[in-house]
């Protein structure tokens, strides 16, 4: 299963990101499943994200789950993640969007990105992702990439 966390450049330090990843993993294991989870951080360069007409200060976290996941457990997970995220970052809860998306729709979202790219574009993106994720894992201890190629 995958967790994609989109944050703004310079918004959080490495220690905060590691703490956030730890809480996401812990809450996911407690409320969803003990299955292996891959957490990927997408860091948006300054000036490239907007929320409500303003430069964005928002964090967007999408988590994958199995189809038919119970709603009451979803709400419990999202509440726990929201509580822990705002405690670590000091963000207002309005600046945090969390979702637990069932696998078919989650993959549809990921496929949407692949489908808008040419074959060469997909290869370029895959290479960028691979090298970025490896470099960040070795250098920072977590998987991250920037969306610009």
């Amino acid at each position: 299963m995958k967790i994609l966390a989109t944050v703004q450049e310079g918004q959080f330090g490495n220690d905060q990101i590691k703490a956030l990843e730890a809480t996401l993993r812990r809450n996911y294991a407690e409320h969803v499943s003990a299955t292996r989870v891959t957490v990927i951080w997408c860091v948006i360069p300054k000036g490239q994200a907007f929320t409500n007409y303003q430069r964005s200060q928002s964090s967007l976290v999408s988590m994958e789950c199995v189809v038919g996941f119970p709603q009451d457990r979803r709400v419990t997970l999202l509440q726990a993640c929201e509580r822990d995220w705002t405690a670590i970052t000091g963000q207002n809860s309005d600046q945090v969007m969390l979702s637990l998306i069932e696998a078919d729709v989650f993959n549809n979202v990921l496929d949407g990105n692949r489908l808008r790219l040419s074959k060469a574009g997909n290869l370029k993106l895959q290479w960028h992702m691979l090298t970025s994720l490896l470099r960040s894992k070795l250098g920072k201890g977590y998987l991250s990439f920037r969306p610009n190629l």
Partner: protein, 128 residues
């Protein structure tokens, strides 16, 4: 949510990014009735797009509620023509894809998001 991502081959200037983000936010709010606080727009560049397109837009939007096929069609068209105009590219070089996500799967402001069309009560409750 919504989250609109715009991928382009070449970077758009800061001014154009702001204009395009405003356009997408306006289009989404005016056509769906959603409040602007919900709308996120993210830009990325360096991407080779399919079919020679210059800008590829993906909008992850809430599904259900008042989101009829007609609403989604008008939203796609408005975003496509508006982005093309603001970015000064041909309309046919802008692709737009909308992907529906059930609102009950998403939390913002510490609350599960409302069904499309039921935002007023949700905002009142969230601000109470």
């Amino acid at each position: 949510m919504p989250l609109y991502t715009l991928a382009s081959r070449k970077p758009l200037s800061a001014a154009v990014c702001k204009e395009v983000a405003d356009l997408v936010t306006d289009a989404h709010c005016q056509i769906t009735g959603a409040p602007a606080e919900f709308v996120n727009v993210v830009f990325m560049h360096g991407h080779d797009l399919r079919d020679g397109n210059l800008i590829g837009v993906i909008g992850n939007v809430r599904s259900g509620g008042n989101r009829s096929e007609d609403v989604l069609k008008r939203l796609r068209q408005r975003v496509q023509t508006g982005v093309a105009a603001k970015a000064n590219v041909a309309v046919e070089k802008v692709s737009v894809r909308l992907i529906g996500v059930p609102s009950r799967w998403v939390m913002e402001g510490g609350e599960i998001m409302p069904e499309p069309g039921a935002e007023a009560a949700w905002l009142d409750r969230a601000k109470a």
